[in-house]
Each structure stands twice: as C-alpha cells, then as structure tokens.
Symmetry: C2
Subunit: 151 residues, 2 copies
Amino acid sequence: MIELDETDRRLVRAVMTDAGQSAGALGRALGLSQPATWRRLKRLRDAGALRAPRLDLDHAALGFGVTVFLGLKLATKGRVSLEDFERAVTAIPEVQTVEHVLGLYDYRLRVVARDIADFERVLRRRIMTLPGVGNVEANVLLSEERRPGPI
Amino acid sequence: MIELDETDRRLVRAVMTDAGQSAGALGRALGLSQPATWRRLKRLRDAGALRAPRLDLDHAALGFGVTVFLGLKLATKGRVSLEDFERAVTAIPEVQTVEHVLGLYDYRLRVVARDIADFERVLRRRIMTLPGVGNVEANVLLSEERRPGPI
DNA sequence: CTTGAAAAGAACTGCCT
DNA sequence: AGGCAGTTCTTTTCAAG
C-alpha cells in the first residue's frame, strides 16, 4: 500500500482538480522546486497511485441536458446472465458508467440523453429490453459536486 | 449548442480516456497533422465542450478498498435544510461525490473507506448524524466500467 | 533537498494549398 | 478545412552543491 506524506497529499489534491498544470506551477503553489515536484509526481505515477488524466465533456454544452441514474435489479442472475447483461448494456451509447454493485440493486447506470423525451426513448427501447432486467428505478441529476476525497 | 463532426468525435473519444497525450500523438492516431489536431482541441476547449483535465486516484492502491453508494432521503427539505445538509455533507472527507437528484432519493453520495469497519464508522458517526437525513440506502461497488458516452 | 543548464519535445504562429 | 516550417516555451534529465 502506498503511503503519502502531507506534501504528497497537497500535491495530489491540486492535480486532481486540474491535471493541466505544469510541475513548475504546482511546485510554486506548494513551495517546492520544479524538479522536486516532478520527482514526487513521477514517484506517485510509478507507484500506481495516479490514473491516466481524463478529460470530461460538458454534456450540457453538447446538447445532452439530461443525466439520469438508474438502479437495476436483475430478474435472473447466474454467471452467464451477468455477462450477457454487461455486454448488452455497454453497447448502449447513452450509458456512460456501468457499476456492478451489491445491495438493493445489482447494477447502477449513469445515462445521458438530449432531453426527457430522448431519455424515454433510451429507457423504453434500450434499457427495458436488456436481457434479464427486472426492476428499474430512476433518479434525475439536478446538480453534482465532486470533493477531493479522504486523501 | 456545439456541433461536432466525425473527426471531433474521434478526437474527443481518444482524449477522454487519456488526456496526457500530445497533440502530435493524437493526430497520428487520426491521420491529422499536429497543428490541425491542436487547432481542433483549442476550438473545442474555447467553445466549452471540454472540462479541465482531471487526475483520478487509485483509491484501492492507497488503502481505500471500499466504495459505497448511498441514496439519501431527507426528512425535512426546505431551502434552508438543503443548504444545511449540503454544507455538512461536503465537510465529510470520505464523501467523494454529492449528487442532488430528483426521484426516490434526494441525494446520492459516493463514499470511500479503508474497509467495511471504517465505512461503518463513517456511516454511524458522519452520515446518520447529517442534518435532516431520513432514509439511507447503500450499495457496495464491486466493479465499474466507464464508457465514452453518446458523443 | 536545492540551483543551473542542456537536450528533447510540445505548444503555438504564420503562411501556403 | 489541412499541411509545412519555424519560433517559443515547457518538460525532462543531468550535474553539482
């Protein structure tokens, strides 16, 4: 398990929200030199603590104004049906995230659509026809805030 | 609303999974020159289609092996109590994401913890004591897959 | 850990098809 | 819209304190 000191934590917090900053700029904010900052980042990357930087889209700006979270319960769930379900669900373009979970639901999906009418189309034609799907529960996203987490 | 052509879409898909690639490398994969690729990226950034690049942590590698999704229903939800709730919930370090939603739940939280015992501590001492919290439902993350989405 | 410097590469600009 | 060539800046690596 990778251990971080306080400087690492501050570095990680800064780079989580904006991975586009240079090692020099990050170091200045922390009172570190550019090589020292760069070495810390490299150490964290090599240790596998940091994932590859990702670029999220502003779906609203691209005309996808509706985000819905679905909780799904499967009617039948042997090993084969889980695989069938996952193959089918990952083939739906509007599905952004597929989470296999334990609890009241079996899967949780994050779905984006242009509007509510578009979402209804996805729900009726793609989600409800998934193999083995039982109960479906929906929550419409109003707003979202990401936090740095316990690091 | 921003419109993307097929080349933009392929570019965006590549940069969503790894924003660390140079414009030259991205262009080679698409059969574009470095400046052409760079100009497309700049245009998309300036139009607001792309958010700032983010760096996710590998929480499991850092000793946080448990991710739990919570669905919360508030008992009382005037404007003031929503704000109280949000202020209190964003102050919990283990809470990674706070989603205000419409439906069966009022809020959905993504919570990380070191293990189940650690999660129980967070649940009992931090979540159940949130102002106005009513019903709480939990799902433990087994695995997660992110998809490019409908772009 | 620091500073300084050199080499490599990426970002950005202007001009051309 | 795209390509080519050139300039500028940053990143990356090394040496030395």
